[in-house]
């Protein structure tokens, strides 16, 4: 009886609120929660999604947000099963994050098939807005083309005109190697060879020795997370840089630098979309995030989850409905504006456009302490940072 009364009362108050509508939105954060990418996404991305809902004050706006999460273990089959289950039986409306390109490409397809929304922050493969582009996907934070364009061009400009790649043997590594090779060759450089290492790997000495033997000026690491950490650590052990070759960590996160220590990582040039210490807004968010995420500053992936969920919720509010087609149209129509990435837009192929940055890892004596790791070398403006729409061969824009 009491319960009934409560329901009646709440219904009445809803009716009295007049314009108020109640939309239940369920966001599924799908990523690696235990393996080599768990620190750059993992629980941090879940926290970021929750913070987006809180900061948006979704509840006050009649949007009831719930966030669920799962571990895809970096396996496309595991990730696909979770995505299907979420969409089919658990009423998940949006899947967010999904690092590991092979898993993301699978989730991309399933999301299109089920007509839901995929806010891709974690994955890198530029195919998500290229040949595999989907009307249901926004690729938020970065992609292999942007990384290649940033770090690749910078290295060639510094005289690194011959390359050898050490590549993670799956969709992401292949895409990163392909996109970087294109940049190197377009800038007049040469690719001398590549070696594909099993994913995830632990011992990179054989591959590094092959890179050393190639005589290439630049050894490009087309891998990420724990693989990059181990490869950089061992490259220093085998004297790659002392031998006159430069190391290009094509995808490196602040957490990787934290794990490597500045002694080992100093001087590396990397491309990123976000750094916690860029302005007051990023610092404010990062301090709050760090408190909730076991003392770790946000990676650009986690920042991307926050920003993409925020933009999604704005679109849901504007549409007044969570219909995937309408919300996607709204997301692309509305310019984006958030404290972490500033102002931006979402292109027809799903590519989110914002400035990218070329960072250099500080020397130990330049750093004021933990997490003070990057200095900004250059800002790559949004219109130069990502692959031109016409070059992506996205079927949506033909």
């Amino acid at each position: 009886m009491k319960k009934m009364g409560f329901i009646l009362a709440s219904t009445a108050s809803l009716l009295m609120a007049g314009a108020a509508y109640a939309t239940d939105v369920k966001i599924g954060v799908l990523n690696d929660r235990s393996g080599i990418y768990a620190d750059i996404a993992g629980e941090g991305s879940v926290i970021a999604a929750q913070m987006a809902a809180e900061d948006f004050k979704a509840a006050d706006k009649g949007i009831n947000v719930s966030v669920v999460s799962a571990d895809h273990q970096n396996k496309p089959d595991v990730g696909s099963n979770i995505a299907r289950q979420w969409y089919d039986t658990e009423n998940v409306d949006v899947i967010a994050d999904v690092p590991t390109s092979s898993v993301a490409l699978a989730v991309n397809e399933i999301t299109k098939e089920k007509n839901k929304i995929f806010l891709a922050s974690g994955p890198a493969s530029s195919d998500l807005t290229g040949k595999a582009c989907s009307p249901n996907t926004v690729h938020w934070t970065y992609d292999t083309w942007a990384l290649a364009n940033g770090t690749g061009s910078a290295m060639v400009a510094q005289g690194g005109d011959s390359w050898f790649f050490v590549t993670a043997d799956y969709a992401f590594g292949h895409a990163l190697e392909r996109d970087t090779s294109a940049v190197v060759e377009a800038s007049g450089g040469k690719v001398l060879g590549a070696v594909r290492h099993p994913f995830p790997g632990q011992d990179f000495s054989s591959f590094l020795l092959q890179a050393q033997g190639s005589g290439a000026k630049v050894v490009g690491l087309a891998n990420a997370g724990g693989d990059t950490i181990n490869a950089v650590k061992q490259a220093s052990e085998f004297g790659i840089t002392q031998g006159g070759q430069s190391l290009a960590a094509l995808l490196m996160f602040i957490n990787d630098v934290h794990a490597l220590s500045l002694e080992v990582a100093q001087g590396l040039v990397l491309t990123g979309a976000f750094y916690w210490d860029m302005n007051d807004q990023t610092r404010e968010f990062s301090a709050r995030f760090q408190e909730r995420n076991a003392g770790q500053k946000p990676s650009m992936i986690e920042a991307g989850v926050y920003a993409s969920v925020l933009h999604y919720l704005k679109a849901v509010e504007a549409v007044g409905d969570k219909d995937a087609a309408k919300v996607m149209a709204k997301m692309k129509e509305m310019p984006t504006d958030d404290p972490l990435f500033g102002k931006g837009t979402i292109r027809a192929d799903g590519r989110k456009l914002h400035d990218m940055y070329l960072f250099r890892v500080k020397k130990p004596d330049q750093s004021k302490g933990a997490w003070d790791y990057f200095e900004t070398v250059a800002t790559i403006p949004a219109d130069k940072a990502f692959r031109p729409l016409a070059d992506g061969n996205c079927p949506l824009v033909k």
Binding site: S34, G35, I36, Y37, A38, D39, I40, G42, D169, V195, R196, H197, P198, P200, G201, Q202, D203, S205, S206, F207, L209, Q210, Q212, G213, G225, G226, I229, N230, K233, Q234, E237, F238, G239, G243, N255, D256, H258, A259, L260, S261, E263, V264, A294, Q296
Partner: protein
Amino acid sequence: MFELLGIPPQVLFGQLLLGLINGSFYAVLSLGLAVIFGLLNIINFTHGAQYMLGAFGAWMLLNYLGVGYWWAVLIVPPIVGLTGIVLERVLIRRLYHLDHLYGLLLTFGLALIIVGFFRQFFGVSGLPYPPPPLLTGGHNLGFMYLPNSRAWVILASLIVCLATWFIIEKTRLGAYLRAATENPTMVGAFGINVPLLVTLTYGFGVALAGFAGVLAAPIYAVNPNMGADLIIVVFAVVVIGGMGSILGSILTGFGLGLIEGLTRVFYPEGSAVVIFVIMALVLLVKPAGLFGRSA
């Protein structure tokens, strides 16, 4: 100079040496497993976690107590071995009269708990462990640059492997161990404390894993998952060598390291599976493993 399948000999020698270095880890780890399986009939799936404990032990000594690498090499393996002894006394010994599978499930579960615990506290990216001054730098061997840290790995693991083999095959204590493996009741009847022998053997096997972990700390990222992937390979090594065979596990460890190293040159994409392919082939031809005796 001659070339083999288009690979210059310098590259080949370098890769062979690297294979040997990786083989050192396989050898020390599979040796521990073989010792434990030989005497306890337990398939110790906690081995990877205990290897990780070794690396974390070294890291903790350095960061919490300021104790350096060389002391860690001496102190950490016995400590890790001691944790093994506690596990054996409290949990594992209750399963001796049951099927192998129970031991496997228990040790596998323990491994998940230990790794999960460390993951919760330290994350997965790993922690930096700077190599001691003596192990930084390296030597140019003409065909490759050999970092001192890797040379030390080969040397240390060879010494440990040979010493273990010597103790088990050539000393009186080893004779007791081998006898207890064959027939524990009979050895007990001679007044030898077999349960104690079993406990110490488990502790020793675990200490070997901890030792390998300390060796790995300056080379690989010290992270909670470091043992998980390695241990599967090491199990394949033990199976190929023959479960419980001491010499078999040492030789197979180094040998498979070499083969894996060569695969990384000729067909790198296959380097993750080559050991399992060999395992399948060996099991087809010699089900007891290369050095194992068929029951």
